[in-house]
Symmetry: C2
Subunit: 189 residues, 2 copies
Amino acid sequence: MHDIVLPKLRFAKNRLSGESIDRLERRIGDLDDIFSDRAAYAALPADRLVYEVESSFPVPDGTEGGLFLGITYIHPGKVGQEYFMTKGHYHKIRNRAEIYICMEGEGMLILMNEEGTHTWAEKMEPGSIHYINGHTAHRTANTGNRILSFGAFWPSDAGHDYETISQHGFSKILVDQGGIPTLVNKPRL
Amino acid sequence: MHDIVLPKLRFAKNRLSGESIDRLERRIGDLDDIFSDRAAYAALPADRLVYEVESSFPVPDGTEGGLFLGITYIHPGKVGQEYFMTKGHYHKIRNRAEIYICMEGEGMLILMNEEGTHTWAEKMEPGSIHYINGHTAHRTANTGNRILSFGAFWPSDAGHDYETISQHGFSKILVDQGGIPTLVNKPRL
């Protein structure tokens, strides 16, 4: 009788394991378009690890009604005064939401409205749960001294629009001001 | 500056807290249609707690692209040899998937195909992650001696079809056979 089977995926010690885990790394050299302080960016080694993502895609990308899940690990660090952070994206299908659950570390979920005019942030700490509404750009920054990790759940047909953020950024950036994570207007280039 | 806000939801000590948590209890008296051993069922007090669900519905039920999340706590117990379990359901929109993550205890995720002809189960234990494909009926049973709890994530337009299960049940039931959780054909009434 093979009608009782073992789970195909496991979460243990803050890592994902099991069948077909997708692993992604983003290093300084991959993040040319997101940090504001160009001189500080250029001074960092291109191979310095900024964040990693472990994901499970149980159905093909684009499947209506399916779900994807992933864990993101952002290393501590700064580019100038700006905290290490993810690229950030809108969903290609704009109304698709996402849920984050913070597991370890401290950080900020940075959000921006669809028009790109308003940026705000939610504090992330172990156990915090974050609902990211559709039509809302999102990125995360590590504001602490150790790894920030969080789980994410999103619809398998959401898709990622990284291009809009690559071109326009968020309307504010999150910087260290005397030890306090603070959202400030982007410096004019 | 109110552009940095605290998280609205938290997960701590295996409970959900924060804004607008929906709490649901199912007692023996609410579960008239799911257990096979009618005499054993009738012998249990109607107010005995079988399971609780804490949920967050950040958008209206039926919203396309949104997500819901919940934590289910199934108490240990049996009705005859059948383990305490949830009602079980298909999603109203049949292709909607769901993800479970087991937090504590031990149990089984019982699954059935859309035609109602094939029932199987996945073992649940702390850290196990379960992808429930669309078109698949699902219920969970506590096979241990303490609470089984798990987090769930599902699309906000999935809906619940409890009626099909209420009328036809699953094609197999999960019973204790000498201490081993075992799927067996339903007894003929």
